[in-house]
Each structure stands twice: as structure tokens, then as C-alpha cells.
């Protein structure tokens, strides 16, 4: 929020109307060309800004899981989450993940049965989730916890990189019971700040 709190100025008297405007332009040009002029004015403006806690996130439009190794090994895939944060000294933030819907069409893996897990890699800012998280369609699970008084980019108490990133490694159960075919679901990553 930008707020102009005070404006004080002093300028030479000028005639009214067009002639006055011309004189003002002339004086302004003179002042720029000859800063040592005796006819000076002082303008003071106090500007204050309130920076609220904020966060935003970006993810790729899509990503794929692929079978690896021997038969019926789990499907694996990675999702990189990019984020920007600024938290108040007494505030905090978080990034969470939730499935918008189960895999479709039916007959394949089911998020509702706990088939999709993820772990968090190192986070550019904040503390990543610890251990395997089970993706749910009913509730959100943690990705990154952001402490108070930090921001993205610039170093110091802020992250070095802007945006910061965290990579999620997904594991999807590969059961013989799944019918062959292509399946897809949507995941929503959400930021929140306090």
C-alpha cells in the first residue's frame, strides 16, 4: 500500500493563465540547466509502504509418472514447485498439496486408496515436508513450512534464488489389478500466509 502523507512546496510567484504556465516551464527548465541558481524550491514527500505477508506458487501444467526397473515396480515422477514468499516477523506461511480428483477413468490407480505418495527434496526457502506424504482428495498435506521474517531472493534472511523451488518425488502403486490404459488426475498446490 502506497500512501502520500505530506506534500510541502515553495515556488516563485507567477502570473496567472497561459503566461504563468509558460513562466513556470521556463523556470523549471532554467533550474535543471543551472542548479546553482539562487531561485530554488524545496519539495518534500514522505512515502511509506506497508508490505503485507504474501506468497505465490507456480507449477508445470502437467507431469508424468513412469514405470521403472523391474515389473510391477512403482511408477515414479517428479514435480518442481516454484514459489515466492514474504512473511512478517511474527508470521508464517505454508505450501500444501491436495488432489482435486481421483485418477480417471476408473479401473486404474486410486488416490483415495492411498496409492499416491510423495516426498519433498530440499527447499530453497523454508522447511520441506519430512517423510512420505500420502496424497488425499479430502485434505491437504504439507509441502513446505515458511517461517516468519523471510522472503524470496536477495540472500541474507531471504533465499538466494528467486523463485525458490522444492522438488516433490511421487510414487504411485503399481498393482496387477490395474487395467491397462492412461490415467490422469489433478493436483492443486496452495500457498497460505499468516
Amino acid at each position: 500500500m502506497l500512501k502520500s502523507s505530506k506534500l510541502l512546496s515553495h515556488q516563485s510567484p507567477a502570473r496567472s493563465g497561459r503566461a504563468g504556465l509558460s513562466a513556470l516551464v521556463f523556470l523549471a527548465g532554467f533550474a535543471l540547466a543551472a542548479p546553482a541558481s539562487a531561485d530554488t524550491g524545496t519539495a518534500t514527500q514522505n512515502v511509506s509502504v506497508v508490505l503485507n505477508s504474501a506468497g505465490k506458487v507456480s507449477v508445470p501444467a502437467g507431469f508424468s509418472l513412469a514405470a521403472t526397473g523391474t515389473t510391477f515396480n512403482a511408477y515414479l515422477g517428479a514435480l518442481t514447485v516454484s514459489y515466492r514468499f514474504r512473511t512478517a516477523p511474527s508470521g508464517s506461511g505454508s505450501i500444501t498439496l491436495r488432489a482435486g480428483a481421483d485418477f480417471s477413468p476408473g479401473g486404474g490407480p486410486a488416490i483415495s486408496s492411498g496409492a499416491l505418495l510423495y516426498t519433498c527434496g530440499g527447499a530453497g526457502l523454508g522447511t520441506p515436508c519430512s517423510g512420505a506424504q500420502t496424497v488425499s482428495t479430502a485434505s491437504s498435506t504439507g509441502v513446505v513450512q515458511i517461517p516468519g521474517g523471510v522472503c524470496t531472493g536477495g540472500g541474507g534472511s531471504c533465499s538466494v534464488s528467486d523463485p525458490a523451488t522444492v522438488q516433490l518425488q511421487f510414487t504411485l502403486d503399481n498393482s496387477p489389478q490395474f487395467q491397462t490404459g492412461g490415467y490422469s488426475s489433478s493436483l492443486t498446490v496452495t500457498v497460505s500466509t499468516l
Binding site: K56, S58, V59, F72, P176, Q177, T180, G182, S184
Partner: protein, 179 residues
């Protein structure tokens, strides 16, 4: 000026390439997760070795090999098979042989007992060192249980007086496939 324009164009293209697929920053981000579930099959022999026992009085040697299979065949036109092939004939020489038995007609034969969704091999099959022999077959959209399904091969080896007394061993390789 021309070099600057070229530089800016290239920089813009590089930036676009780096951000390909990424979405704008916002309070939420939604991504689509995709997976393709393909036909797969695996097989595990439960017993590290199978002993054939026979006699007395020249009764054939018999034994059973137990295995567990997992399979997922494609919908529509998918199929699957389990086969056996003697990849190493009995050794040392002087005893039974799949490829060159001392008496014509001596065989290492087997019957199959494989649980659904498999269809077990029909009747008695004669083992071969050159051609894989059927153990089970699967149709389209065949899917085993998560821990796998069971199967058995029941062996019968001719007990020929021509065999020299000794211990003999052969290697049989089972192969499972799915499309």
C-alpha cells in the same frame, strides 16, 4: 543496434524455453498428473530347487515346482503366456536326458495346475531343450491378485534301468510374458 536486437530476441527465446510448461505465479497452482499403465508380467519360483523322487521298482520319478505369477494383460487384444524350457540338460552324463535319452521315449513330462485368471496347459506336456512348452495362457484384461497368483508344475521323469546310479540335475527356465 542490430546486434542488440538479435541478442534480445535470442534472450527472449531462451527465457520462453526455460519457462515452457510453467504456469504463472498465483495463490494456487494446478498440475495434471499422468500415468500410463501398461501390460506387465513377472514370475517367482517359490522353491530354489525341485527334487524328483521315484521307485521302488522303477516307478517314475515325480516332483512339484511351485511358482507365483503376477500379470496384467492389455484390454482388447492382450494375451499372456507362461512357458517352460530346459535350458540345461541333465548332468553328469550317464543318466536321464531331455535331448538325448538313453532309451527313445524317455521323457521329462509335466502337467500344470495354474490358478485363474490363467488357463492351465492341457494334458501332459513333454519338456524340450529347444522349444518352450506351454504352462499357462491368458486372455485380454487378465489381472492377477496384488500379491500374485499360484501355479504348479507336476513333473514326471521316466525311470529307466539304463540310468547309472548317481544324482543328476537339469535347469528349467520358466518365462512369463504379457501384451
Amino acid at each position: 543496434m542490430r546486434h542488440l536486437t538479435t541478442f534480445l530476441v535470442l534472450a527472449g527465446m531462451l527465457l520462453f524455453a526455460l519457462n515452457a510448461g510453467a504456469q504463472p505465479f498465483g495463490p494456487t497452482g494446478t498440475t495434471t498428473i499422468n500415468v500410463t499403465v501398461a501390460a506387465e508380467a513377472s514370475l517367482y519360483i517359490n522353491d530354489s530347487s525341485t527334487s524328483l523322487t521315484g521307485g521302488p521298482l522303477f516307478a517314475d520319478y515325480t516332483g512339484t515346482t511351485n511358482f507365483t505369477y503376477k500379470i496384467r494383460t492389455s484390454q482388447g487384444s492382450g494375451t499372456g503366456t507362461i512357458t517352460s524350457l530346459v535350458t540345461a540338460d541333465f548332468s553328469p552324463p550317464g543318466g536321464p536326458s531331455v535331448a538325448n535319452p538313453p532309451t527313445p521315449g524317455n521323457t521329462l513330462a509335466y502337467t500344470c495346475n495354474v490358478s485363474a485368471p490363467a488357463t492351465s496347459c492341457s494334458g501332459s506336456q513333454t519338456s524340450s531343450t529347444t522349444v518352450a512348452q506351454p504352462v499357462a495362457s491368458f486372455g485380454s484384461n487378465a489381472r492377477s491378485a496384488r500379491p500374485g497368483n499360484s501355479g504348479q508344475v507336476n513333473w514326471t521323469l521316466t525311470n529307466d534301468p539304463q540310468y547309472q546310479t548317481n544324482s543328476y540335475s537339469a535347469t528349467v527356465t520358466f518365462t512369463v510374458s504379457a501384451t
